[in-house]
């Protein structure tokens, strides 16, 4: 570079701009990655002549504005790697990629991937960055451009770029558009078990886990298995208590009251002190604890009345409130409320004691790094003190305990301490109400001892409980709540995926898609098909026209009646949209004719290879890539497959076939497959290592025109291979290919 230093234009005079020629969201496995990316074609114009080391102050500016860039390992594969490149000199496209990613990270999006590649046009780059959410990624890219241009123009003394503001804006977008933390933790747990997730709402937490008939929906902590009736019961506290009591679960005695007088009467029946709360309220609103005086009870009644549809009065249960999370009949997490009190010293006022004994705790503070909030004296605190006969200025006697706050945030994880009988009671309570996921509110003095011996009780059963307190407890270890919910919806032995066959290639793929769909339908599966002549559900054409696209494939995966799916993937759709699925059981690449792919986006055999390999990349370990053995480029792809390789070939003597059937071909997971489908003497054979099974004579397969139609024969072989790998009975395959007439004209 230095050799050109003298000839290049002056940096000050240069037109510094970054232009986006095109931005696309590839919402699925694609030429860059198996994860969604934003792909931008970026023209850096004259900046092509100015790598980062040649721009005065640029490095310093960027590294101080975005210090966390130090985590980017980049070229050198180590912490600080990217900054080193930046210092040594790299081009704007590459920097744009890293800054976009970092802005997304700072806004709270999950970790990412990025690439920047030159194109054949000078100064034009393709930049791809992870894009879990399209709008967030687009905004991050735009902000990254602004930031870069600001850094390039920066001279000491200028107003620096408002990184904080940009990140706050993105964070706001993430908060409103991305999954909430509870849902995110479930989706992450699903991902770690390789269970796919599809968001069904652009905003909000409705997510489908799994595909087709195997799918389950979750909406935060509610699932397809949460009965609406159970939720109704949980909202009716009186009914819930009656049901719990009938099954011997400890609950506070109580009843609904209809007037202030009635409240006092009930309090005397139950025995003082009592708790007063609205029948259907939640989150502690309008809840009054440990009342003994008639005036207190009557005024609490009036306030509680305003909150809900009725007022409930219950015996006071001594102790701290705990929240027990039950998932699928199992206690998964438990947390304890932050109940605080001070002890008098005979000198200090309560206000002072709060500062000395509570807020001095280093764990308490306003920032996010503090697990516990400081105690502020508010209305509730004042009422609590009043009940005990104090004001904030009272001076309690030496050793006198004063309750300041009863049930603050559920901050303390106590999962490991819960007594087994209490865990069983919580699980029973969830079962009685009928909830698969329930938050059980329980009051106990010591959660590690049985409830009965301490007079503890279950006070409420909640549907759709918050998970955050268990995922991020202030004190104690996070609990695998997402994992438990995923395990509940998809027990380990259950598959979340339906058989998916993905087909790509240069030509003839539509017919092949139809043929495989027919074989799957014959095997008894409700099959969805998206191909370039329509969208079919179980042989019924739902939509006409080219449906070999992301949206139609997604629609099929969302369809709860679909047991198997066949997707034709044209190279255009793969380039512009990515695949609609993250894994398939069979990935077929039929053939390669490079010229059919060349154009604006693809210019070299390598790029065609990178595109077509996407179909092989997504094959699941238990699945297979079905490849045409006569194409050297496809044979090369075999090494990229997670699953088995099944070759098909018109020529049974092809060395690739011979070698494969003799020694097997290992994919990246080391799966050694030796299967192939070939033709010899006008007959189709299923070959597995040294064993051969004659399947059908080509004469009996009408569409091959007695074996003369070469493309049709190859399609038949590919379909047979796919069906074979899906475990379809050879007799069904034979019948299917023998009766197939409906090749459309492509």
């Amino acid at each position: 570079m230095l050799a050109y230093a003298d000839t290049k234009p002056d940096y000050i005079a240069v037109n510094r701009d970054i232009k986006f020629i095109e931005i696309r969201h590839l919402n699925g496995p694609n030429i860059w990655s198996v994860r969604p990316v934003l792909e931008a074609i970026v023209d850096i114009g004259e900046l092509e002549d100015f790598p980062s080391d040649t721009i005065p102050g640029f490095y310093e500016c960027l590294s101080s504005w975005l210090p966390s860039l130090i985590e980017h390992r980049c070229s050198y594969g180590e912490r600080g790697g990217f900054l080193r490149r930046l210092k040594e000199g790299t081009w704007t496209g590459h920097i744009l990629e890293h800054v976009t990613l970092e802005l997304q990270n700072l806004a709270g999006m999950p970790g990412g991937f990025g690439r920047a590649r030159e194109t054949s046009l000078r100064g034009v780059y393709k930049v791809a960055v992870s894009a879990w959410h399209e709008d967030v990624a687009r905004n991050a890219l735009a902000a990254a451009r602004e930031l870069l241009l600001a850094a390039m123009d920066y001279s000491p003394g200028d107003e620096p770029y408002d990184v904080r503001g940009a990140v706050a804006h993105l964070r706001g977008m993430v908060d409103s558009l991305w999954l909430g933390p509870s849902t995110a933790c479930i989706v992450e747990a699903a991902a770690s078990r390789n269970i796919p997730a599809i968001r069904l709402l652009a905003k909000g937490n409705l997510v489908q886990l799994g595909y087709g008939i195997r799918s389950q929906r979750i909406w935060t902590a509610e699932t397809d298995r949460t009965p609406a009736i159970a939720e109704s019961i949980s909202r009716d506290k009186d009914l819930t208590k009656a049901l719990l009591q009938s099954c011997g679960v400890a609950i506070p005695e109580g009843r609904v009251v209809h007037s202030a007088d009635d409240a006092w009467e009930a309090a005397q029946e139950i025995g003082l002190p009592v708790v007063i709360k609205p029948c259907d309220g939640n989150h502690g609103r309008g809840v009054f604890i440990e009342l003994s005086k008639r005036e207190e009870i009557e005024s609490a009644y009036r306030i509680a009345l305003e909150e809900g549809s009725g007022v409930l009065i219950e015996g006071y249960v001594p102790g701290t409130e705990h929240r027990l999370l039950v998932v699928g009949g199992r206690l998964v997490a438990a947390s304890r409320g932050d109940s605080v009190s001070v002890t008098g010293d005979g000198i200090s006022t309560i206000n002072e004691l709060i500062q000395q004994q509570i807020n001095s705790d280093p764990r308490r503070g306003e920032s996010e790094d503090h697990p516990l909030n400081p105690v502020h004296v508010d209305g509730v605190t004042i009422m609590e003190l009043l009940r005990q006969g104090f004001t904030t200025d009272s001076i309690p006697l030496v050793g006198q305990e004063v309750i300041i706050q009863r049930n603050g945030n559920h901050a303390f994880d106590v999962t490991d301490e819960v007594h087994p009988s209490t865990a069983a009671a919580a699980s029973l309570a969830a079962r009685i109400v009928g909830l698969d996921i329930a938050g059980i509110d329980l009051v106990a003095t010591d959660i590690s001892r049985p409830l009965a011996e301490q007079g503890g009780a279950i006070v409420e059963v909640n549907a759709g409980p918050g998970l955050l307190m268990h995922i991020k407890p202030a004190i104690g270890s996070p609990r695998p709540v997402g994992e438990a919910i995923v395990e509940h919806l998809f027990p380990s032995h259950e598959d979340s995926r339906i058989p998916i066959v993905g087909i790509t290639g240069s030509y003839g793929t539509t017919n092949l898609a139809h043929l495989i769909a027919q074989l799957l339908a014959l095997s008894g599966k409700q099959t969805g098909l998206a191909c370039s002549d329509g969208f079919y559900l179980d042989r019924r054409q739902v939509k006409k026209g080219d449906q070999a696209n992301w949206k139609t494939a997604r629609n099929i995966l969302m369809n709860r009646s679909i047991e198997a799916a066949v997707f034709e993937n044209g190279s255009d759709s793969m380039l512009r949209e990515g695949l609609a699925y993250d894994g398939c059981h069979v990935g077929i690449v039929t053939n390669v004719e490079l010229t059919r792919h060349y154009g604006k986006y693809l210019e070299t055999p390598k790029q065609v290879f990178d595109l077509l390999r996407t179909q092989v990349d997504v094959v699941v370990p238990a699945g297979a890539a079905v490849l045409n053995a006569r194409e050297p480029m496809l044979v090369e792809m075999a090494a990229l497959c997670n699953g088995e390789i099944i070759y098909f070939s018109l020529d049974s003597d092809l060395p690739v076939i011979k070698e494969h059937c003799l020694h097997g071909t290992a994919g990246i997971n080391g799966v050694q497959g030796k299967r192939a489908v070939t033709v010899r003497d006008g007959e189709i054979f299923l070959v597995d290592g040294s064993s051969e099974l004659p399947l059908s004579k080509l004469n009996d397969v009408p569409v091959t025109c007695d074996g003369k139609a070469v493309l049709e024969v190859e399609n038949i072989l590919a379909a047979v291979a796919a069906a074979w790998s899906l475990g379809i009975d050879p007799a069904v395959i034979r019948a299917g290919i023998g009766s197939f007439h409906a090749f459309s004209k492509v």
Binding site: L201, T226, P227, A228, A230, L239, G248, M558, N559
Partner: protein, 856 residues
């Protein structure tokens, strides 16, 4: 006329299988009735002409009054539509006091009818006014208020027809079907299969549209709009004509249809936005409104819905025409009737105004005036059943739509030209409703009603599944708790989670969840409603049977251990052993017809006689193989259980199975006769349930009866070489059985500690010590704290009287208090002696004895 006691019998009872109000009424009239009986009857008929009295044979005045009350209660219930038929009266031992029993379908209605009938009778006696119309109105309102609504009612009826038991969880529409772990719930047209997430999905119209479109089901294009201007933009995107409507509106308020121009659209937006603030623009599809009911992804019923409308005749005003229609007796208010009156309110008037009409307009003959653009039955619309016309492809889309949304039951609103063609190209789904109303399909205004309840039940329960768990009811005078525990133990060996009620608590999987005497229906219901129970063993004592009837409509096995000379006689109008037999027989009368089994003690003639009342099969048991009942039953190749040598034999025809006493520890190798009988009853019950013999054998073998598992049931202690036995036996038969068992245990000297329970008859208390006096050398009498209505010293004196002719007793002590009596027994006890302590306060006494034993 005075009501001495009133009970609601909530299950099969002494009188019938129906729920009933049972009242004890004193029908004594202090003064003669004015005009005598004929005068009374005239006044009665004048006040309640519909009363249906049975032809009065010459019967006492009091009996006639009781009968009048009985028929008045029934008549009132029938007048308001309660499906009831049974009533009867029965005399008691007291003069002019009758038991009046009248069936009810809703307890509160039965109680109110009873009160009103009393008022009626008093009015007829005293010749004061009685407002029948008001009374019936009051009763009817209550009935309409608390009976199950039409939707829920249809599901419940379908369940009952399939033999599925039900239990209302609330006064509303929440109902539980089935028992224990097989239970399922519904709430109107929601079931336990109705997912909360699916309901939320259906509530989001945009999401529903998106998902249905993805599933290839025709939907109307449309979207929510944010302003009048945006409404027009949306109209241009979607293509006119359009509908503008509030997003979450109901009853058609603020809906404008078939809009084409910008002015129309913007004006409609202004109207709609006032209703909810959120407005939707959709493509307008001409055609009829249909409601499709999909259950289990299958189309079950289809109805064409029409908005309320009147047909002009050129003479009457719109207001008059509406009035004419509303005078149709089929039209009522609310959801109870087939049709609802047309609501001629401001919405209707506003709708008329859009057509340039007022309520005073006289539409020309042959014109149709629509009164609101929504077809809800609740505002006067009509529904015509078109289920049979639906094209199979059309029906298939409905099923796919329901599956895509994920609802097991849903109402799909469709607009289209005709249901007899595929939906594609001629219509679309407008929305999907969770918890749809079923009334329009059950009782359409036109066309036939559909078996909707049956479809819902069929989707919840597989064919042949009646959602029941095995239920064994156990009753008798003695041995029922041990028998129940033995049966529970056998079922536990089968791997079932057992719920059991007994006189010492409610047990779920061996855990006691309730204490005290739990042998009544309330406790039985706890077991049947508990989600973790796979099988129930319910000790069913007389008290609960009399108080409330059974907690279940039928049981698989009814075990009656014995009646003997009875217990608790003289209480609750049960005076004789025959009366008591009739009470305990209730469980036998309610075994499952055909396949249910009554396990009866052949040696007890009262129990053996119950066989004639059993609608199922009978297994007899008795120790004596030559018992005539046993031999006859065996000769008929039916099941019997008896003792042969050192084993219990179960025999049926040529089949015999032998269970040696050695394998049944509770019998102490056959030494304790009453435990043999309990084991025989348990064997017969296990056999009746079809359990494997290995399981039955195992259940008997590992059964432990000690102070922990069976407090107060023949608990053994050893103290300084002497044997102590504590038992809760408190009636003649129990004491006889104990004496029998203790006689086989060698001892130098025998002593017994006893108090009497005051609520027994005098002769029963005396009889207890008569038996003991012949078997024990020393008797320690004590008076316990609870005298159950007796004067101080009364029971002691009865006990003493029983000992007057004692053949063996030489020494009698009298002590106050149970602990003192126990101390007295302990103090005298020497090696090789035996002492039986008949404890009363079970837990406390056992605790005290244990403490003394431990102290040595």
């Amino acid at each position: 006329m005075q009501v001495l006691r009133l009970r609601a019998l909530r299950g099969p009872n002494l009188w019938s299988r129906q729920t009933a109000i049972e009242a004890v009424v004193s029908c004594d009239t202090p003064e003669p009735l004015p005009g005598g009986m004929p005068g009374f009857l005239d006044r009665l008929y004048a006040r309640f002409p519909q009363i249906d009295l049975l032809p009065a044979a010459s019967c006492p005045e009091a009996e006639m009054l009781a009968h009048t009350l009985e028929r008045a209660v029934l008549g009132l219930e029938i007048q308001v539509g309660c499906p009831v038929a049974f009533s009867k009266i029965a005399p008691t031992l007291e003069a002019d006091v009758y038991q009046v029993v009248v069936e009810y379908s809703e307890e509160a209605v039965g109680r109110l009818a009873f009160d009103l009938a009393q008022d009626l009778c008093s009015a007829a006696i005293e010749d004061t006014p009685f407002n029948l119309a008001e009374a019936l109105q009051h009763l009817r309102e209550l009935y309409e208020d608390i009976r199950l609504g039409p939707s829920t009612g249809s599901v419940v009826r379908a369940a009952v027809a399939r033999g599925i038991p039900f239990h209302r969880l609330t006064d509303g529409s929440m109902v539980q079907f089935g028992w224990g772990s097989r239970q399922r719930r519904i709430q109107a047209a929601e079931t336990c299969l109705t997912s909360l997430v699916a309901e939320s999905v259906a509530q989001d119209k945009q999401l529903t549209r998106f998902l249905l479109d993805a599933a290839g089901v025709p939907v109307t294009p449309g979207r929510p709009v944010t302003s009048a201007e945006d409404a027009w933009v949306a109209t241009c995107e979607i293509g006119s004509p359009v509908v503008v409507k509030p997003q979450d509106g109901n009853q058609g308020r603020g809906v404008r249809v078939n809009l084409v121009s910008r002015e129309q659209v913007e004006a409609a937006y202004t109207v709609a936005v006032e209703v909810t603030g959120k407005v939707m623009v959709e493509r307008y599809i001409p055609g009829h409104d249909y409601r499709m009911l999909v259950i289990g992804n299958k189309l079950v019923a289809a109805a064409r819905r029409e908005p309320p409308q009147v047909a002009g005749d050129g003479i009457h005003t719109v207001g008059e025409l509406v009035e004419q229609i509303n005078s149709d007796p089929r039209r009522g208010e609310g959801h109870a009737n087939a049709l609802t009156k047309i609501h001629f309110d401001e919405i209707a008037l506003a709708h008329l105004a859009t057509q340039g009409l007022t309520s005073e307009s006289v539409p020309p003959a042959g014109t149709r005036v629509v009164l609101r653009n929504n077809a809800n039955l609740s505002t006067g619309g009509t529904a015509t059943d078109v289920t049979d016309e639906v094209h199979p492809e059309f029906a298939a889309r409905m099923g796919e739509a329901a599956q895509m949304i994920g609802l097991d039951i849903c109402g799909v609103d469709v607009v289209c030209e005709s249901v007899s063609r595929p939906l594609e190209g001629q219509g679309a789904i407008i929305e999907i409703n969770a918890a749809p109303g079923l009334r329009m399909h059950l009782q359409p205004s036109l066309g036939k009603g559909r078996a909707v309840g049956e479809a819902i039940i069929a989707n919840m329960f597989k064919k042949g599944d009646d959602a029941r768990i095995p239920v064994v009811a156990v009753t008798g005078t003695n041995g029922k708790t041990t028998t129940a525990r033995l049966i529970a133990n056998i079922l536990d060996c089968q791997g079932l989670r057992v719920g059991m009620t007994s006189t010492d608590g409610v047990y779920i999987e061996g855990q006691r969840i309730d204490t005290g005497d739990c042998s009544g229906p309330k406790s039985a219901r706890k077991v049947l409603l508990h989600p973790d129970v796979d099988a129930a063993v319910l000790e069913t004592a007389r008290g609960g049977l009399l108080r409330e009837g059974l907690a279940f409509d039928r049981c698989d096995v009814a075990v009656v251990t014995n009646i003997g000379v009875g217990d608790h006689l003289g209480l609750s109008y049960i005076n004789t052993v025959e009366d008591l037999t009739a009470v305990k027989r209730i469980i036998v009368q309610n075994v499952k017809p055909g396949t249910g089994v009554a396990v009866l003690n052949a040696a007890d003639p009262f129990v053996a006689g119950m066989a004639a009342h059993c609608p199922g099969k009978v297994t007899f048991f008795a120790r004596d193989p030559d018992d005539p009942v046993i031999t006859k039953h065996r000769a008929q190749r039916k099941r019997v259980v008896y003792v042969d040598g050192d084993a219990i034999i179960a025999a049926e025809g040529n089949f015999e199975y032998r269970l040696p006493f050695a394998g049944i520890p509770v019998t102490q190798n056959g030494a304790i006769a009453f435990q043999i009988e309990n084991a025989m009853a348990a064997v017969a019950a296990g056999w009746a349930l079809g359990l494997d013999w290995q399981i039955i054998r195992g259940g008997l073998a590992n059964f432990v009866s000690d102070m922990q598992t069976a407090p107060g049931r023949f608990n053994f202690f050893t103290h300084r070489g002497a044997t102590l036995i504590a038992d809760y036996g408190h009636n003649v038969d129990a004491i006889r059985a104990l004496v029998n068992a203790i006689d086989k245990i060698p001892a130098k000297r025998r002593s017994v500690v006893i108090s009497g329970a005051g609520d027994r008859r005098d002769e029963d208390i005396r009889r207890q010590t008569e038996i003991l006096g012949d078997a024990f050398d020393e008797v320690v009498l004590y008076q316990d704290q609870c005298q159950r209505g007796r004067a101080n010293g009364e029971v002691l004196s009865l006990l003493r009287q029983g000992l007057e002719k004692a053949k063996r007793t030489r020494q009698i002590k009298e002590i106050y208090g149970e602990f003192g009596a126990i101390d007295a027994a302990f103090d005298d006890l020497k090696e090789g002696e035996l002492c039986l302590i008949l404890i009363d306060q079970v837990d406390e006494a056992l605790g005290y004895i244990t403490k003394r034993v431990v102290a040595g």
